[in-house]
């Protein structure tokens, strides 16, 4: 069950649009910086396949300029 965090850079003047687009993806949590055009995005998916699909969806968002992964964890489904 992958959990990953990213720094997302929007295109110029597209920060709000990017926040809105990513927020609509249920596996994503968005934490926008208050004073810079940077968003922290944390993704939580159930499988590698779902993670790959999500990544594709993120990368096709038109207001997204760059998505840089910072950390990745893979946790077991059960203890």
């Amino acid at each position: 069950m992958p959990i990953k965090s990213y720094l997302a850079h929007p295109h110029k003047d597209k920060k709000e649009e990017l926040i809105s687009a990513i927020s609509q993806l249920k596996q994503c949590e968005v934490v926008p910086a208050e004073n810079r055009d940077i968003l922290v995005v944390v993704t939580e998916t159930n499988s590698k396949e779902e993670e790959d699909d999500l990544r594709l969806k993120l990368e096709t968002i038109s207001s997204l300029k760059l998505l840089a992964m910072v950390s990745g964890f893979d946790t077991p489904q059960k203890n």
């Binding site: 990953k4 720094l7 949590e29 926008p32 910086a33 922290v40 840089a68 950390s71 964890f73 203890n79």
Partner: protein, 775 residues
Amino acid sequence: MFTSTTNRRDFIKKMAKLSAITAAVSMFPGILFAEEQERGLPKDANLDWKKAPCRFCGVGCGVLVGVEKGKAVAVKGDPKSTVNKGLCCVKGYHSVMAMYGNDRLTKPLVKKNGTYVETTMDEALDLIASKMKETINDHGKDAVSIYGSGQWTIPDGYVASKLFKGCIGTNNVEANARLCMASAVTGFLTSFGLDEPMGCYEDIDHADVFVLWGNNMAEMHPVLFSRLLDQRLKRGVKIIDFATRTTRTSMAADKSILFLPQTDLAVANAICYEIIKNNWVNKSFVEKHCNFSKGLTNMGYGLEDKYKFTDKPEKISFEAYKTFLEDYTPEKVEKISGVSAKDIKYMAAYYGDPNKKVMSLWCMGPNQHSRGTWMNNLIYNIHLLTGKISTPGNSPFSLTGQPSACGTVREVGTLTHKLPHGVVMNKKHREFAAKIWDVPVENIDPKPTYHTVEMFRALDRGDIRFMWIQVTNPMVTMPKLKRYRDAAKKEGRFIVVSDIYPTPTTDIADVILPSAMWIEREGMYGNSERRTQYFEQMVEPPGEAISDTWQLVEVAKRLGYEKQFYYNKETHIEEIYAEYRKHHEGKKHNMAPLKVLKENSGMQWPYVDGKPTKWRFNSKYDPACSNGETFHFYGKPDGKAIIWQRPYEPAAEEPDAEYPYWLNTGRVVEHWHTGSMTRRIPVLHKAMPHGYVELNPDDAKRLQIQTGDRVKLTTRRGEIILPASVNQRGVPAPMQVFVPFFDENMLINDITLDSFCPISKEPDYKKCAVNIEKA
């Protein structure tokens, strides 16, 4: 790992989020994530944000504490702090919660007929003073002792030293930093003549290569490690993890190199061999600024009571040193260390490249080592041979684990041989201290007494009868613990413990004093980069709790030292700090005035002409340099640093047929040291609720052990049963196991060995022989 999946996943999500915020803060100074930082705060909160250094590790992050209605309710990183630039680690973000555990000690307790009875603070302090007088009368001044820590504030340690060394006249003053930083101290003193790093955290912004010597920075110093990762994103720097175990740091590093325990000594020498062989020596630097020396070898391991060792340094030539290194060719060392000759040459090439700036970072790996002083010397050798020292980005940097291990234990000098300025053995240093302390110089005993392990052995033997333990938990942390726990319980011993929560150490106390914690009182800490940071009292301590400083002042007055402990209750921290600064006056160690500390996120010493000194021993930055050269190692009489000839020697106890595995102990990111604070923070406790033993997957498979199975660990000291962890957080090398020590219900130190470095007297918690079997 053993908590519910939901809790674990929530925690990991939080870690992932914090990692990204960390990276962002490092890349974009001043960036704010206010929504995240203020999440969970009371709605419509009218918070008063006040600055302080973090309570936990030695990095010394600046935090802003949100106070509402007399309670600390929130923490965020201080964007103005140059240490962490607005960032906190998971412990820092939750630090205020450590003050509000349900079982906070709020009243003094006195043991009567086997049970603890509440009493008033005045009565408890009266009892302590009378017991001290009685013990001194019956057994002499060296029968009373105090054992503190690197969590003591500067004023705590200062008054402890003044009372015991200056007034009572015993050098029975020690602190738990002996267990974690003593080898760093003796390493600095033997190589440079002065303690503490020459560089600063700003080196991270300049270095091209980082070599981490047995240092799991990703878990132990996560904020600094995030600064390394950020530099990799920005500048493509290289991170080399040189360790005995695969950790999160190894996984994040560009290269992970594993060595067999204790053989870092040989590898460091092999790196020096390569530097000389390939003509990478900075000849003009070495000729102008270095001497070569050797000391005694086969020193033993301090396993016997009253063990003594004094090194006998002897100057040698460069040629003699070069000949010594012939035993440490990469090919020969490969056979000892398990590190390939290719990897040794890989590391040496970075150190030897004149166009690469290299920062070496280490903490407990080289320090908690039966040849800890030597290991510190050897890392300095590499930097001295190449002249990569005391310039931005070229920096051998010894990290610390406690908020004031440097500020209080090393600078105030709360170790048996130390004074705030200098050592007890030096007549001038004694005279200097006595004058400031307003005591007869004869009061200060010129002979050190007991280092920490020997102090507890003395308690066992009955040479020490009274011990006051403040802000530390030795009944979890002492190696070969059972001996010392039994010692403390013997008849005729009187133990006072000042703490904030019940611990295994309060369990052995005759008197328990409730202490004010961190921002419940005023004080200062000193971090790893020589930065002294002030914090004000922000909230009231619970019940009758008072600061450790004031506990000591009150007892000192009861012992008749009113003249020396003249401080006013309202202004005593300011008065104590002003007095303490006198010990360090001068260009080599001047401390910033309190006003400056209050106005800034701390200040580095030496503070000269209104400016901090970022790089010592470099005349461009350090006003104390006076030899007319670029560098001046003024801690040594001739101004030269020493390159030491130090051989590889085996550990005190190595695996054999009966105990075929290495046992290594350490920490985890969620818990700080013995967990007495972090285990009372629900999110951290749930994330890591108890101890475990990490096994190598091949060993586990052979022994048919899976994660969660009960595993019996047996050493010559005893046995313990722990749940197994296989392929989880860390992965030990084959025939090695790792156990964290935070869990007071699974006391791994009951079975560790109390061997220590003969020079620093710091125990080796990283190596002893153990057998493992499925329980």
